[in-house]
Symmetry: C2
Subunit: 493 residues, 2 copies
């Protein structure tokens, strides 16, 4: 990437003052006021103070700059933490998203989407989730608190409630959407990612979670990932809930406790204990809790909790169904998995790379009370989110990234400037037959055309020359074989 | 839509105070401070003032509410001016976008994308465009002025500059992306729409514009729109430029004049004259300008401007190429078309419905100086934008909207709760063979299953019953014919 910058000026012409002031009045004012960073607001303030008499920031109509004005260089890179998708990256994104979508359809799910900009309140929960402190939130011009969505599930819940009785349960929905979190840019994390979600609304049984994991396994298999590369850690929020009940911990602390425990591999255990202590849980209970979290076998868990509780019953059923779905070797019980979102209520799961190098690949679980907390009917639900970042790291590491080039069937070129219209006619004829055509729009030497044909992976080169065209024919060269022939345009397939 | 609301509370527990205050300190403060609208900031302020001792807004962990707290109802509709895409709307969106994408590929264009959140300065131009006053802009947590993109072209220009010499010209790129404008909600306009863009970077000749219009025509034809439904008005910014030069109007007023003239069908002609007068253009020039804008024939234009200017030469070539591409009947010259964006420099065009009921369907043109004003090399470029809103209105009016139902090949159902695992095995076997399967995840009566099969348009119903399954077989019912047979799972295709 080259460090090219855009230049704008910061003063304000008196004739444009009313427009800019109006513009500023509907922007929220910057908190730390420093002129070099905030172009328009800064410019407007100057004018407001009666000072500036220069021209407004012109980035388009020439002449662009007056030498006596303040200059302001602006980076033309995308905002920090965001990505452009040039063609090569877009091909990979399309490849990945197509697999997301094809697997979802294979499982009979319907695609949905929601606005990337949502009411902020939809994402505000009290449990101390990271998600809340990382919201891209602001006030719009109508004084509404809005936020770029950090996840898709709250919007899905909102839409289900809105649809109400007009939809028949169960709903099986999927979405692939961009999500935003303002995170510190450590660990190579970005501030936006795309997330594939699949959700089942209206099924209380564990068959739902079992099918969701089956779909992720199907996705992994399709892209060449095996059970020796990736596994799923599975547990249930009910494990913790039953323990907390046993120790008399109030139910309303449950969400916060889960959020703290989710950090168990990220911060020192003493910190975890301290944070749990803050919630008012006894030291005894904390020790017992942490002991149970280290349990990796369902039998051991049963010894602790007894066999009658819902946690054990659900988990046993899930493992039995995993066998029937055919993905037993992919999943394992791990009590430490709780997931970082407050709203889960039952089974939770997390896809991980077996080498332990990467963050969680995906995660999900049951959220039976989310809809009712939003004011909807009490409808059981579960789902997962699968980001587009970690999976690409994994594919890179396993050398499984596909090689995806541009693919064009024909490159059509006039041999003479006067024949550019004829070349257009040829291109149209081929496109009408469903053939992809890269039409050369300028007069270029043949050497250039061959180079371009190679770059776009063209199958055929169609040359429009004077003599042949008088006869209604063109020259066709098959680029893989070098085979060349003259053919009437109407016969060209 | 039902009016269902979410309930949250507005007080703050002392234990959560530090977290919330921290959260607030990175939100920009609301300008008009009213407690009912701004949940968290309001709550934090209370705490800050030493007042509140209640609990923070809980929308998840039960118990949800204490009776003695402030309640706050929040709408679960999407933010004003935005849309959800439930399955039926998503099918239409996918249908439309697939046509956008297939046509683009037919023409050999590569797909690209950019962040929906961009640096605000990328969109700030001085010409008095609507676009600037309608930006969804805010300051992010790192004190950067950012904006939800109102259009895609500036991001494309930015990416091309960033790529620099690493890409071979010409580039033929397309994108389908969401764009945001905070408009008044009159005329049924929304604040977001998706826009299909196709752009050619690096071709100075009119062959480029001619191909772009050809691709839009191809799109129209594919979805059933004809030349008697829709046309293109074509002109060139050079027409105005040559006139302004003739009248000694300074070149730097050009952008502003175009923006004013673009409003010619929206505001009274006297207003137009007044606004043009403000720019300093003489009354004589204004009258002449408005006269020329009413010209609808290229010959008449030539009489006024003479035949030697670039405007006439370009336009003549475009009409000649239109014939060769095969879309002459779709286009007409109309001097009043200038388009509302400041950056166009040459040919401009606009798709319109011939009944004159709708806003412009699409629009585009040449923008040869945009890259250099951003600090890049001087590279010729042109492109168009095609929104997803007006075209759907037009299709509705012409009764051309497709009927798109869900499509599932199989619905698989266990006849007995104990056979749900077996049904899972059957579903997996079918999915492994590439068959789409809606698996019934609960124990349901057959009547319910038939109803669901009809709703998802299933082709076959696969029933897993005890006797057959002991034999490794299932019952298959072809739903269109009623035909029914028993088949070994391994033979099921």
């Amino acid at each position: 990437m080259r460090g090219i910058h855009m230049i704008v000026t910061t003063r304000l012409s008196s004739s444009l003052r009313p427009i800019l002031l109006d513009f500023v009045s509907i922007c929220s004012p910057p908190r730390n006021f420093s002129i070099p960073r905030r172009l328009i607001c800064a410019a407007a303030t100057k004018a407001n103070g009666g000072g500036g008499g220069g021209r407004s920031g012109s980035i388009v109509a020439p002449p662009l700059l007056n030498q006596d004005e303040d200059f302001q260089k602006i980076d033309v890179n995308p905002p920090k933490g965001t990505r452009d998708f040039p063609p090569e990256d877009m091909r990979l994104r399309n490849w990945l998203f197509n697999h997301f979508k094809e697997v979802s359809r294979l499982f009979g799910y319907e695609e949905v989407d929601f606005p990337v900009l949502e009411t902020e309140a939809l994402f505000i929960r009290k449990a101390g989730e990271e998600i809340r402190d990382q919201l891209y939130c602001f006030e719009d011009r109508g004084n509404r608190r809005v936020a770029l969505r950090p996840e898709l599930t709250p919007s899905l819940a909102r839409l289900v409630i809105q649809k109400g009785k007009s939809v028949s349960l169960p709903l099986k929905w999927f979405a692939v959407g961009q999500c935003w979190r303002y995170e510190r840019m450590t660990r190579g994390r970005r501030r936006e990612h795309y997330q594939w979600n699949m959700d089942i609304i209206g099924v209380p049984q564990v068959t739902a979670e079992a099918e969701l994991i089956s779909s992720v396994v199907t996705f992994f298999k399709r892209i060449g990932i095996t059970a020796s590369d990736v596994g799923f850690k599975v547990s249930s929020r009910k494990v913790l809930q039953e323990l907390l009940t046993k120790y008399g911990v109030p139910e309303n602390l449950f969400g916060r406790v889960c959020i703290i425990i989710d950090k168990i591999e990220k911060i020192p255990i003493d910190e975890i204990k301290k944070e749990l202590g803050f919630t008012g849980i006894s030291e005894d209970a904390i020790e017992q809790l942490l002991h149970v979290l280290s349990v990796k076998s369902l039998d051991d868990l049963e010894d602790i909790l007894g066999g009658a509780g819902e946690a054990i019953v659900d988990l046993k059923q899930l493992f039995s169904l995993a066998e029937k779905f055919g993905y037993s070797e992919w999943i394992q019980f791990d009590a430490s998995v709780v997931r970082g979102l407050a709203y889960y209520t039952g089974i939770v799961f997390e896809g991980f790379d077996r080498k332990g190098k990467l963050r969680a690949i995906c995660g999900g679980g049951r959220y039976d009370r989310l809809l009712s907390t939003y004011g909807g009917d009490d409808i059981p639900a579960c789902g997962f989110g699968f980001g587009d970042a970690v999976i690409v790291e994994l594919l890179k590491e396993k050398d499984l990234l596909p090689e995806l080039g541009q693919e064009v069937e024909n490159i059509v070129c006039a041999l003479d400037k006067d024949l550019q219209g004829a070349a257009a006619t040829v291109a149209t004829a081929l496109r009408d037959k469903g053939q992809t055509v890269d039409l050369v729009l300028e007069s270029k030497p043949l050497k250039w055309v061959f180079k371009r044909a190679a770059r776009v992976n063209a199958r055929r080169l169609v040359l429009v020359g004077k003599t042949e065209w008088e006869d209604g024919s063109v020259n066709v060269k098959v680029l893989s074989s070098g085979e060349q022939f003259q053919v009437k345009l109407r016969d060209l397939e």
